[in-house]
């Protein structure tokens, strides 16, 4: 492990992994990422080297959460030419294959810019899987559309498979609790 730019690192030499849910819980289907995080936490116990994070919509503030990671699994809505609720998987190289666009608001940058920024610092995850779900409706309001809600279990399974592949499988809870989706409560 390199010790450059190590703001996000502990002193342990163990590998570090993170499952990161992105999205705004107040904007319809954009709540997909946090919803999958809620489902995973309710159903599984994660090994200590795996951080499970709902980071909302951090823009470039995603950067510090990537520092010191060996691998990351990111769950988010993704624009793709497919029906709402379709799951699309992307690896790091695919995320980075097109350059970022000029931006007007400094808060436009996202996953791509954050990955490049930590790479420039000689840090950040070498392995990234983006578990994307094509959204139906992203407008002000709480709750997923039926198609996107139906994709939540499969998206959670995709995360679990990736952690297994990385050698850090979560353990199914014998008594799963209902997920804590506080934003859906009235």
């Amino acid at each position: 492990m390199s010790d450059e730019g190590g703001a996000g690192k502990g002193t342990e030499s163990r590998r570090r992994l993170a499952v990161i849910g992105l999205g705004n819980v107040l904007m319809g289907d954009d709540a997909l990422g946090p919803t999958v995080i809620g489902a995973l936490e309710a159903q599984y116990e994660f090994p200590p080297e795996v951080a499970v994070l709902d980071l909302g919509t951090p823009g470039l503030d995603l950067t510090p959460y990537l520092l010191g990671l060996d691998a990351a699994v990111v769950v988010d809505t993704v624009n793709a030419p497919a029906a709402a609720g379709t799951i699309v998987l992307y690896r790091r190289e695919e995320i980075l294959k097109t350059p970022p666009q000029p931006r007007l608001s400094p808060h436009d940058p996202g996953l791509k810019e954050a990955l490049l920024t930590v790479a420039f610092a000689g840090d950040g995850p070498r392995e990234v899987l983006l578990v994307g779900v094509v959204p139906g409706k992203v407008t002000t309001g709480i709750g997923l559309t039926a198609a996107v809600r139906a994709a939540v279990p499969d998206a959670a399974v995709a995360v679990v498979r990736e952690l297994e592949r990385l050698g850090a499988p979560p353990r199914a809870r014998p008594l799963p609790s209902p997920p804590d989706l506080w934003w859906e409560r009235r």
């Binding site: 919509t57 931006r103 490049l116 000689g122």
Partner: protein
């Protein structure tokens, strides 16, 4: 003949901020700022328990989470007449200050420095000269020749690997880029170091807030940080001293790196101390309260009209009627039903989209006004109010930046240069340095008060019957933020958030007065209409935040932003 340039980041779902400028003879003649996204998230809060409002409002924006949480609890406490214990004020203040330290550093180094710094030019730099320059500006220990060489090597291998995509938004090689290679190398080195120090500031927020983004420790009536100096599970001595160490390190970076860097860039782009002034009415609110009632503060607030510091009128408490009575929002040019100009408590949010028409309606952002005037908000407003009130820390750092820049530029720069594009960057650095001292001060106030045996963190309260109205303000990193709540029988009847970027990015009002972004662009030079770097420089200097409410990723290379030039 004039040329119309539209800078319009678009997504499949909704766009964000769109800027239109009309250019004639290489200068901007007219401009329009348009929020391309309907927010109206406030409507989600109607009918909910006011105790939960802060948990929802901090999801309004993914970058400015903490600030909405703070403004929201203050609004509900104001409506219900709740005073919170002094420990709770100090804990909130340390969070507020640490969050702002993090935010200002990220804004300068990671989000806008590339408007001024040409990264590829750094490859031509002499590391020894870059080091000598850095050491002449500051005692910072990480400006050595060896460190400059390492950064140059890292940059070279990044370029060789074809990974420079991260900097495409920096327009390298643009004719408006003017820094010498050594300054560019020094700036790239500090860009990398800033990654580490902004994270240290954010760690303080995480220690007190349990989690970041989206802190968990607030409550209407105080905070949820149990204090027991000897208990591992609570706020204890170990955590207090861990925060002190982190804040000491951050203060050194801000004072010895950020402040001199901004002074140097200001001195080397002196023309940008003349462009970008625009609206010179300023509004800031006081923050970092020193008492339980919110009548004494460590950061000053008030208004300044027409750039004249002698017009200063201070805002002096959480209940000050001067603020409460004078805020309105106009929808004359915004896509809502009607033509009104109303106080936030009386507003209704009924969207009504029509096409972009610069003469009629062209934005989702309302136009906030104070006593009928457009106001610029942000660090510059607070620094000018601080300068006008003789705030000793603000004045110390403002004079330091102006003196350093004057020495480099070899001309005498006065506070008047702050009404400009680079003045806004300088003010942000001055505010950041001020906060680097005040964060440590409020942490010490907390330690001292707890040392006296006071561990109170919460004031119990109950809902009164009937209707209450309240407002809560917070001087956020992007400027004055206010939340306005109407409570009826323990439920939210109305809620409005008037955010800093609304003040700055808002459209014209019913009198045709331009908003701050619009006014600031008029007169800016444009060297190349296909690459309007100068528009980005001025808009970025405000630190806009309109784009964070949604953010669906686009991996397939669909066009996410576009720049159109119409002749």
């Amino acid at each position: 003949m004039s040329t119309r340039i539209t800078v319009d980041p678009i997504t499949r779902i909704e766009g964000h901020l769109r800027i239109d400028v009309e250019v004639d003879g290489g200068r901007v003649k007219n401009s329009w700022s348009s929020g391309q996204m309907y927010r109206g998230i406030e409507t989600i809060l109607q009918g909910r328990d006011p105790r939960d409002a802060w948990i929802f409002t901090q999801r309004l924006c993914g970058v400015c989470t903490t600030v909405h949480a703070i403004a929201s609890v203050r609004a509900v406490e104001n409506a219900l007449g709740i005073e919170i214990p002094i420990n709770a004020q100090y804990i909130r203040n340390v969070i507020v200050a640490a969050h702002a330290l993090h935010d200002h550093m990220v804004h300068f180094y990671h989000l806008s420095a590339l408007d001024w710094v040409d990264v590829t030019s750094a490859l031509k730099a002499d590391p020894a000269k870059a080091s000598a320059l850095g050491e002449s500006l500051s005692p910072w220990p990480h400006n050595s020749k060896r460190e400059m060489e390492a950064v140059k090597d890292k940059l070279a291998s990044f370029v060789a690997g074809g990974q420079l995509g991260i900097f495409t938004n920096g327009y390298w090689g643009h004719p408006a880029m003017k820094l010498p290679p050594e300054v560019n190398l020094l700036a790239v080195a500090h860009y990398l170091q800033a990654l580490e120090y902004q994270f240290k500031a954010n760690k303080v927020v995480a220690i007190l807030g349990s989690k970041t983004p989206n802190i968990q420790n607030l409550a209407v009536g105080g905070v949820a940080n149990a204090i027991n100096l000897d208990n591992q599970a609570t706020l204890n001595m170990e955590k207090l001293f861990m925060m002190k160490d982190l804040l000491d390190e951050v203060a050194a970076f801000v004072q010895q790196v950020y402040l001199p860097d901004v002074a140097a860039i200001g001195a080397m782009y002196p023309e940008w101390l003349g462009y970008g002034g625009g609206v010179t009415n300023y509004l800031s609110v006081p923050d970092l309260p020193l008492d339980t009632k919110g009548t004494q503060f460590d950061l000053p607030g008030g208004t300044i009209v027409d750039g004249n510091l002698a017009t200063l009128k201070q805002i002096t408490s959480f209940r000050d009627p001067y603020f409460k009575d004078n805020v309105t929002e106009s929808i004359a040019h915004a896509w809502y039903d009607g033509e009104w100009d109303k106080h936030p408590w009386d507003e209704e949010t009924v969207p009504r989209y029509t096409d972009f028409d610069g003469d009629k309606k062209y934005s989702w952002v309302k136009a906030p006004r104070f006593e009928g005037r457009p106001m610029q908000v942000g660090p510059l407003a607070q620094v000018l109010v601080g300068y006008a009130t003789g705030h000793p820390i603000v004045k110390k750092y403002a004079d330091q930046v102006l003196n350093t820049a004057s020495a480099i530029a070899k001309v005498k720069l006065t506070p008047a240069v702050l009404h400009s594009t680079l003045g806004r960057h300088a003010a942000r650095a001055i505010r950041c340095a001020t906060l680097s001292e005040l964060a440590l001060k409020h942490l010490q106030l907390l330690i001292d008060n707890v040392g006296k045996g006071d561990v109170a963190i919460f004031t119990p309260w109950t809902y009164p019957a009937g209707e209450q109205r309240g407002f809560g303000f917070h001087e956020a990193p992007r400027g004055t933020l206010s939340h306005w709540v109407v409570i009826r029988d323990g439920k939210i009847a109305n809620y409005q958030a008037v955010v800093p970027s609304t003040w700055n990015a808002g459209p014209r009002d019913e009198k045709g007065q331009k908003g701050p972004y619009e006014a600031s662009l008029v007169g800016n030079p444009i060297a190349d209409t296909a690459k309007p770097l100068e528009v980005l420089r001025t808009v970025h200097s405000f630190d806009p935040c309109l784009a964070c409410a949604i953010h669906t990723l686009d991996v397939e290379g669909n066009e996410l932003s576009k720049i159109r030039t119409l002749t």
